[in-house]
Amino acid sequence: MTANADVITAVQGGFPAVTRRPSSDHPACNVPATDAIAVLRYLRDVESYDFLTDLTAIDWSAEKSPRFTVVWHLYSSTKHVWVRVAADCADDVNPSMPTTTELFPTANWHERECYDLMGVKFEGHPDLRRILMWDGYPHHPLRKEFPLAGIPTDLPDAEIAAETGIGLIAAPMAGGPFVSTPGGPMTEAEPRAKDEAWSEQSEKPTNA
């Protein structure tokens, strides 16, 4: 077992392709996608980072390549420290990453969520279905190009959609999203739209 600050150096001993990743809190490293599972296994078995606290992905926006980065946060229940591992997805259009469900059973739902909202396919996942949105939903809502208000589509249930005659609409944002500005007195912390120039009554001004 290595001290937490030296854990990246220890990983680099076994995996020369691993590089340090700038981090303001925990030790972090970038690994190639092909080495990700081996590095995570090493961290779990040798360095005793035995708990996957979080698994998520970053979308660097459609112009960037590599576009998607998968991030794992590991915690050691004996050392009480964290380490962060990040790996870029090779493909920008159909991103994929090997699954970690065999190392950490908790990765099952994390990867389903990541697939649902970001569209990263985890290869070898035993049950890669959407977890929050319904099966058949055509978008991945946390991607950069997806608007918060949503994209009009059909309801999940065709029978109910036919009966009610409605589908998804883009939510009326009216200058939102509605956020409270930090600081100041509580009375002024009411969530407000950043841009109050337009509302449901007055149209959004267009830039000519």
């Binding site: 949503g150 009610t164 939510a171």
Partner: protein, 169 residues
């Protein structure tokens, strides 16, 4: 039927065992005072709805204490909480399974309009999929507001032409 007009109350010594009334009034009186809610608890409003059912606020005072988790046995669906698009078909299906006559109370900002969830995942008001009788503002509403909505709904039902629609709806 609480009334301060004791002189107008039914007196069996004078009138015998017969009460004369309008069929509408009789039906509406029955419906009003046994309006069993279908608690459609979807988010935090459901906690407030539980408080309405508990002893401090006591929805039983208005004859609506029999929360039925079966749509077949309930009259008034109280949509308490955020309706997501994923949940919306189920809400509509449960509404369809309720036997007529049936009413709907949209409890709180989310059920009424989508509330603060101006997002891709949230139905922007449950009235897009089911007809709503009474809306309650608040996030979440006070239990008194739910009772007020129930009374408003009862006032509305009181004005219904129930007898003529008895065999159609």
């Amino acid at each position: 039927m609480v009334s301060s007009h004791t002189d107008l109350a039914y007196d069996s010594k004078i009138e015998g065992d017969v009460v004369v009334t309008k069929l509408d009034s009789a039906i509406n009186w029955i419906r009003n005072n046994s309006m069993w809610p279908m608690p459609m608890g979807l988010a935090c409003c459901a906690i407030e709805l539980m408080a309405v059912g508990a002893s401090r606020f006591d929805i039983a005072r208005f004859g609506a204490e029999v929360m039925r988790f079966s749509p077949r046995q309930s009259d008034c669906m109280i949509v308490a909480g955020t309706v997501t698009y994923k949940m919306a078909p189920q809400v509509r299906r449960i509404y369809d399974q309720m036997a007529a006559p049936k009413w709907v109370i949209a409890m709180g900002a989310c059920a009424s309009t989508g509330g603060m969830y101006r997002s891709y995942a949230t139905l922007q008001g449950v009235d897009r999929i089911i007809p709503v009788d009474v809306y309650i503002s608040g996030c979440p509403p006070r239990p008194e507001a739910v009772l007020d909505a129930l009374v408003k709904l009862q006032n509305k039902v009181e004005r219904e032409r129930s007898a003529s629609r008895l065999f159609t709806a």
